[in-house]
Symmetry: C2
Amino acid sequence: MKKIIKQYFNVAVSVDNVVFGFDADGLKVLLISRGSEPFPGSWALPGDLISPEMDLEYSAERVLKQLTGLDQLFMEQIQTFGRVDRHPFGRVFTIAYFALIKVEQYHPQASSWAKDVAWFKVTEIPTLPFDHREILEYARRELKNRIRTQTLVFELLPKYFTLTELQFIHESILEEEFDVRNFRKKTLSSGIIEETGKLQKNVTHRPAKLYRFNASKAKQLDFEGGIL
Amino acid sequence: MKKIIKQYFNVAVSVDNVVFGFDADGLKVLLISRGSEPFPGSWALPGDLISPEMDLEYSAERVLKQLTGLDQLFMEQIQTFGRVDRHPFGRVFTIAYFALIKVEQYHPQASSWAKDVAWFKVTEIPTLPFDHREILEYARRELKNRIRTQTLVFELLPKYFTLTELQFIHESILEEEFDVRNFRKKTLSSGIIEETGKLQKNVTHRPAKLYRFNASKAKQLDFEGGIL
DNA sequence: CAAATATATTGTAAAAAGTACAATAATTAG
DNA sequence: CTAATTATTGTACTTTTTACAATATATTTG
């Protein structure tokens, strides 16, 4: 028993969070500037070693909150990375999580050993330490899959949104373009998006109709997949 | 630094393998009879603590080989489970993997601390220790997803197979039934299954045509999804 | 106020895919 | 030869997907 402890109970586990944010500019990822070893000064995914006393799911939320102040996000596990040499301090397995938020509705603040926090467009990511680049790429692929099989997009939209915005999100995430007419036909026919009667304000062109996601209808229809 | 080691490098990581097997009887799972603490005598997923010196992917294969003799399987990671109290010896995170094989082509042999090894129909699983039941259920859901989005079924079939067998596999895994005519139309139209000109032998009824999976055609067509 | 600019909105026809449904064929066993 | 067993096949209908461009509504500019 002592032997077992010595032999096996000597590794560490961390979580790394890929927080995707969306605004008019497109899809972004939240990174922190590391203020401690290893790789101080480097931009990295907000992640940290986790303490043995906490459940895994809760640890992911807690680490994110400690480093960025973000709380109460809907986080999903994506994959565990366990290459032997991925961390210079020793054997560290890391479990990657991802979350999706509206950039304008949250105000991340660097704290704990995070010296700064900032959004980066997914197309302009700086060099990342550890295997964070690999984790991020995996998360992007996974995001594409899940956006097609879960009703996730509405996490990225304000309560009232235009169909153009809805289409822009899909195009940004999936990195492909859709025909406007077909996109509208398909999304509206899903039955989970409804007109509000309201119109866009303060735009310098024809104002678009505002729609809203009908969550209870979605539940009632047992609607699961993405809307495309 | 010393502090960090003491505070964080004191947990363990294990892998648990969900090996699905298929034969005329349907879908099965490979379990071992545990010959060591904790839960000796209990049937469980073949899994074990992993040593800090090995890459994660490789560990999964190695654990499986040690306990069951199975080697060279195509294994995929599914999910990590990290409830605080999931293991009585201390904090153990476990990373679940799954594999798919033809029952008749492998001959698992219990070794190391596994005292026995046996196939169990997925509908007749005994009580499992740890959170193995939860892991198994997760794996079954995941299998359904992946059978629809990856070209996995052929792992479960002999080189030459009948369309009836192909349909039976789908029905067993997805737990739903398909119309014979529509099933054949759809699978054949995928273009990745080809006639061999051969017929079933030694059957007591009209012999079925034997087909084969055309892997190079699949690659050429960049065929990715399941065939249903 | 007319024209320019910018974005929003809408329909239709053709093709492809999915669905529902049952009779006939080929083999062995008796 | 008959019964039993499983294999094989087609068609009409519905639904979904795809391709494609003209008109509408607002603001800004001259």
